[in-house]
């Protein structure tokens, strides 16, 4: 079993996306405890994350490692749920690009880095109107709502969503972080956001900070 667990961890370190799903199925088929399998994958991504933080690895490495997890985890999580347990998550984040804005690279990077860090991520996509953000907060009860805007003409939408949260009595239930090129700390403070991330890695650090995770 130890050998299989080590293989799962190495799969992440080797960015072996093509074999990830099969390897996860093989591991479950061999009787590996799915929680231990999940831990092995998480150990792998943690090493990648640490190396990214130290400058040894870069964003493409982190994203590729996350892709391994995205292939393997559905298999592992299905087995965990089959056994009546719950898959671990550091927290739940709803994110999206605001209405009128179709830019997705920054948002996708934040989503990937959050997933890699162990968060449950609900990505609403691009051009998301206020009501859809509010609906997601109502229904999913996330810890964090993260909004991206790349155009100055659409950054105001972030304010609209926050105002909507206040109006519906949802504001205290969720921390709001905003990001995107035209956004800065001053704007974030002005619109009542809890935090601002200038880059995708900073956004993830902010999420961890709000949830008291080191």
């Amino acid at each position: 079993m130890d050998g299989i667990l080590e293989q799962l961890k190495s799969m992440v370190l080797d960015f072996d996306i093509n074999n990830a799903e099969k390897a996860a199925k093989d591991a479950i088929g061999a009787g590996v405890d799915p929680i231990e399998a999940a831990n092995a994958l998480t150990d792998g991504i943690q090493i990648v994350g640490d190396k990214f933080g130290s400058g040894e690895l870069f964003l493409p490495d982190l994203v590729c490692a996350s892709e391994v997890l995205k292939k393997a985890f559905p298999v592992i999580n299905a087995e965990i749920e089959k056994r009546g347990e719950k898959a671990k998550s550091l927290g739940k984040v709803v994110l999206g690009t605001v209405f009128g804005d179709i830019h997705n690279i920054g948002k996708d990077m934040v989503a990937t880095l959050l997933y890699a860090a162990g968060f449950e991520v609900i990505d609403l996509g691009i051009n998301v109107n206020s009501e859809d953000f509010l609906k997601a907060v109502r229904e999913e009860s996330p810890d964090i709502l993260a909004m991206s805007a790349l155009l100055t003409t659409t950054s105001a939408e972030q304010k609209n969503v926050i105002e909507g949260l206040v109006k519906e009595g949802l504001r205290d239930r969720v921390k709001v972080i905003v990001g995107g090129s035209p956004i800065n700390q001053e704007f974030a403070d002005l619109i009542g956001a809890d935090g601002y991330g200038a880059t995708a890695p900073e956004g993830v650090r902010m999420v961890k900070k709000f949830l008291g995770i080191k």
Partner: protein
């Protein structure tokens, strides 16, 4: 008409003919096999009528190679953009090089690097400065600043356009987001000018509804179109220069197919705005060698094979937050490569701090940069008089050319002497206050603001502009966007 700079030698070519063919063939394959997404039923209908294979549910059109090549042939190799002052009009294409002002979200303080929201007055002053700079031939949209204090975000494009119409007689580009093209078209028409209407795609391989609508609107107004597809190598485009060239070409040609299907023969300038990506932060990475190479390859293909006018935006911005050596190191090599390799329009003046900021002092410095580049590409003439064998004989061995008529009459045309660089001796520099190029450029900027008076609008034009801004405000209020 503004003369611009005439490139008097063949553009630098970095690709072999076979490589050009390979890249073009791959581009056709992308459009034929993968297709392109147009988020507009109206656009898809036009494309289907043209002969594209359209999946209406997915909103994807596959474009056969013969249609792509038809669209390339239909696109003129040059076109005019009519300015408010006809003397300031420009003709884009061929071997003429113009420079376009850059832009930034906000104002950057040159002394501290602090970025802050500009006031309307700061915006207008920046327009006046660039109107005075000879090497700024035209403006992009929402320039110099994307944001202006007190202006609702949705009104920033129409307001910016209005201020450019008011404070400059040079041609301009129109924007596309949130129906701004409706107002910018009318603003330009109110003052008797054309715009280059922006139609910008979203890499990879798509065009949202707003730019599709902008395409129809601007073309109906008879305006030429400025196409673009800003992207990041390694994120929205392939990381390889070759792959990014193919992907980018496919996007721009897909837009051209739409434009020529709507109105055959329309003038188009194709903008290259492919940026590098900082693989540590995910941020834009300006001034890199990959960007320079990509633009050079792109320029060669669009100049030699497609013969469609070219814009390059790679030199528009620097990652540097201060006007310093890094700013020049990030902007100048890319601008020089653009000019040497076939660009017709190069975005340069004033952009700093990524796309986050702009400063008119940098625009003044960039005026000298642009003129230096322009002088280089205009090369030099060779005639018997200019060789001057008789003068060489006359000066002889050990003499001086300083007192010759040739030196006295030609030194200012044989070379370009920058106006704001510090060219003093060390002693003079010490004695005159140790001024840097920033201080000298600031003095020049203040002189411009004190003396330069762009031709004002007529009273009727001013009333029309004001009325249009009021109507635009009402329009966006009714849409709930203000």
């Amino acid at each position: 008409m503004q003369k611009g700079f005439r490139r008097n030698f063949d553009p630098i070519r970095i690709l072999t003919d076979s490589q050009v063919e390979q890249l073009h063939s791959s581009t056709l394959q992308v459009l034929d096999e993968i297709g392109f997404k147009y988020e507009s039923d109206r656009a898809l209908k036009v494309l289907e009528e043209r002969g594209c294979i359209v999946d209406h549910d997915a909103k994807i059109a596959k474009i056969p190679p013969d249609i792509v090549e038809w669209a390339i042939r239909k696109t003129p190799s040059s076109f005019m953009v009519r300015a408010r002052d006809p003397e300031k009009s420009i003709r884009l294409g061929g071997n003429t090089v113009y420079f376009m002002n850059s832009a930034g979200a906000r104002y950057a303080d040159v002394d501290t690097g602090k970025v802050s929201m500009p006031t309307l007055e700061q915006n207008n002053e920046a327009v006046i400065v660039s109107d005075a700079l000879e090497s700024v031939h035209c403006f992009p949209s929402y320039t110099p600043y994307f944001e202006i204090e007190g202006v609702p975000p949705v009104m920033s494009c129409p307001t910016s356009c209005a201020q450019r119409m008011r404070f400059s007689t040079k041609p301009s580009r129109g924007a596309q987001p949130t129906d701004s093209f409706i107002w910018e078209t009318q603003l330009a028409q109110a003052v008797g000018a054309q715009l280059m209407g922006c139609v910008e795609g979203a890499a990879p391989l798509s065009l949202a509804e707003d730019p599709c609508n902008a395409a129809f609107y601007y073309l109906e107004a008879g305006f030429p179109i400025y196409i673009a597809s800003g992207s990041l190598m390694g994120a929205s485009h392939p990381i390889t220069v070759a792959g990014a060239t193919v992907s980018h070409n496919a996007e721009l040609l897909a837009i051209i197919v739409l434009l020529q299907s709507i109105r055959p023969g329309s003038g188009v300038i194709a903008n290259n705005f492919v940026s590098g990506m900082n693989m540590q932060t995910g941020d834009l990475n300006f001034g890199t060698s990959a960007v320079a190479l990509h633009q050079m390859a792109y320029n060669q293909i669009w100049h030699d094979l497609y013969r469609i006018p070219i814009n390059n935006t790679g030199s528009a911005f620097a990652n540097s937050k201060m006007i310093d050596y890094q700013t020049a190191a990030e902007k100048l090599p890319v601008a020089m490569c653009s000019a040497l390799s076939g660009a017709n329009l190069i975005v340069l003046h004033g952009g700093i701090t990524g796309e986050l900021a702009y400063n008119p002092i940098l625009a003044v410095i960039d005026d000298d940069v642009a003129k230096t580049i322009g002088k280089i590409i205009e090369s030099f003439n060779i005639t018997d008089d200019l060789i001057g064998l008789d003068i060489i004989r006359q000066v002889g061995i050990g003499g001086t050319f300083l007192g010759t008529k040739q030196t006295r009459t030609l030194w200012q045309t044989e070379d370009y002497m920058p106006k704001v660089y510090d060219k003093t001796t060390y002693q003079e520099w010490k004695n005159t206050g140790k001024k840097t190029v920033i201080e000298l450029a600031r003095e020049k900027m203040e002189e411009i603001l004190a003396t330069h008076k762009p031709d004002p609008l007529t009273d009727q034009q001013e009333r029309d502009v004001e009325k249009l801004l009021r109507e635009a405000t009402e329009y966006y209020k009714n849409k709930g966007l203000i």
